[in-house]
Symmetry: C2
Subunit: 373 residues, 2 copies
């Protein structure tokens, strides 16, 4: 796995829960401490988790605060776990991440333990997904597709009032109602729903806005669904923009431009291609179509985000498909999600999650959706 031979110390509380899950196969709601030294791996877990840690890990030595002989008042403190573990193993130097907590770093330094800060990713190999990992991401992605289909069915079944609102089963159809339908389907599929975007019109001009209030006909409805599978911990990520009723010519053109930008970006995806080239391909389409990216006051408009990101045990992980260094590698799982955002128009985004292959790419879960319903 990792070339590092010196001891590596990771804390779930310092943003390394995904790395620990990746390396040791153990996911805990509470803090855990991970140490890797040569080929050996160690975990300190709460007393209550010792049984589960033994059952769910292989080739990992498990300690509880009791095993480390910590005094009662120190047993709940992760700092004490780290100090106890390093003392037990007679380990006097560790590599840590830049996010390692300052307070504990100072305590360790005072005890003469040498800290070396990693300058790169802890497990760069996490970018390359195994066949098993790709399957797990695929399960989450198919859950997203199922949830999106459900939302599209709701939009299709809704009728449009004279005021341009949507009604379903005698009620005004809102962003919240659509988020609820999507969330319920994700739960049924064994995923945690978390935040769900179902934002309409002006709200969708902010790609982070979850959306509230009544949905409207003839306006873009951006649905961005990123479920995390309850047991595997892997994420999926999918976005579609659908219009209930008829889109205006201006909106329809934006939808076509986004589709074209996604095709252009996907067309570049292949092992060995520069990530920046994928991003440039999408940006070039928008430029050719005459969509400018600029600031309106302090609010940016146009193509205001990058083209994609890696997906795995974290929803956003390496690689980024953006201006910057790096080349695609076979086995990476990335989103491809160009979008356009303008005041007045709102937002249009289309996102799929794909596996990079030596010859190109393939969908984790293809998803056909109409632009208008």
């Amino acid at each position: 796995m990792h070339k590092l031979t010196g001891p590596l110390l990771l804390l779930s509380s310092a943003g390394d829960a995904a790395n620990i899950r990746y390396a040791a196969g153990f996911a805990a709601p509470d803090a855990v401490v991970y140490l890797r030294w040569g080929r050996r791996q160690y975990l300190v877990v709460p007393v209550l988790e010792v049984g589960r840690a033994h059952a769910e890990t292989k080739a990992v030595t498990i300690f509880s605060p009791l095993d480390l002989g910590l005094p009662r008042q120190a047993r709940r403190r992760v700092d004490a776990w780290v100090i106890g573990l390093l003392a037990r193993l007679r380990c006097r130097r560790v590599a840590v991440t830049a996010a390692f907590p300052l307070g504990l770093a100072r305590r360790l330094t005072r005890q003469g333990i040498r800290l070396r800060m990693l300058s790169s990713a802890v497990f760069p190999e996490r970018e390359i997904k195994s066949a098993t990992e790709i399957k797990k991401i695929g399960v989450a992605q198919r859950a997203a597709v199922a949830a999106l289909r459900r939302a599209v069915r709701c939009l299709r079944a809704a009728r449009i009032t004279k005021a341009g609102r949507l009604m379903l089963h005698g009620r005004v159809l809102t962003s919240e109602a659509l988020q609820l339908e999507i969330g319920m389907e994700l739960l049924r599929q064994g995923c945690q729903p978390g935040d769900i975007i179902a934002a309409c019109g002006e709200q969708a001009a902010n790609p982070h806005c979850l959306g509230t209030g009544p949905l409207r006909a003839g306006r873009p409805i951006v649905m961005d669904i990123f479920p995390r599978h309850q047991t595997t911990g892997y994420w999926g990520d999918l976005t579609r923009t659908v219009v209930k009723g008829r889109a205006s010519p201006v909106l329809r053109r934006a939808q076509r431009a986004v589709d074209a930008a996604q095709r252009a970006a996907l067309g570049r995806i292949k092992a060995g291609v520069a990530v920046a080239a994928v991003h440039r391909a999408a940006a070039a389409v928008f430029q050719q179509w005459g969509y400018a990216t600029e600031l309106h006051g302090r609010v940016p408009s146009g193509y205001i985000h990058s083209t994609g990101h890696g997906v795995g045990l974290e929803i956003h992980e390496a690689p980024m498909l953006a201006a910057g260094p790096g080349r695609l590698k076979a086995g990476q799982v990335v989103t491809v999600e160009p979008g356009l955002y303008y005041p007045g128009l709102g937002g249009v985004r289309r996102e799929d999650t794909v596996v990079v292959t030596r010859r190109g790419w393939r969908y984790l879960a293809p998803c056909r959706t109409p632009r208008e319903v």
Copy 2:
């Protein structure tokens, strides 16, 4: 609010999202930087969040990486935001938490910025909930009650097979099915379900086990529900242990002991009382009833956790109701959740969330449930 007059620097990525939400009223899915200097508050938020930050905060100066004049390649790096913000404000010394990232601490120190590490809670006043906060926690708690009722209805409607399994609507009733019912109700109530415990029998002997597989008659079914409200961000926390069919005399006695321990702990709750006294009251009941707390091999059994914890913008926050220093204060919101865990028996836990008052306490949402259904 806070007595600190020197500059205080918080990062959402270093575990301070709840503190930032508390102080500035802003919750972001992405990293944000918060600085408080005297009476002034500053936030650095991603460019895409500037509009929302202005709309959702009061008396906070909002910066984006663009406003700070950061070069393009630094705009995504929170470290650069911090350095840019401190430079803009000519701030040369900051207080930070023990969880502050080591990498950024070193960079700041190299630039001559003095870091002082806080030795206590950032906002100790967060322990005392305002009337508005208590209402918000109450909403989440009522969602938990509604979800629990739904689960109890499922258990009631289930029939028992000859093999002692539960059947509902022609299907084996599992932990997963119960978690799904609970999760759906939480979504309907506007809450994020997150992890849900519905663990039966031996599985329930680990208070952290979520539970999987078929539920069984005559065994304890522990349901621990801790929803977070989607818009307010406040949590609720509720646990009940229910038996489908008849409990054995041994199990029934454990249920009665847990109820008695909760009554004893609640009986001590009042502003001014030592938190340790509340914990001791529950532990004493178990001791009187003859329930020992000890290690079975490396697995602890008996009353193996503390009696409760504070609830607010975090699911576990101060105060802890455990052996240790500190006295209860009016306005604290705490869980009271004694439990017993033994191999063979499984687990029994009962948890309510209450407000500490000058004269005693009151439920956030009372919840009557039968011990057997």
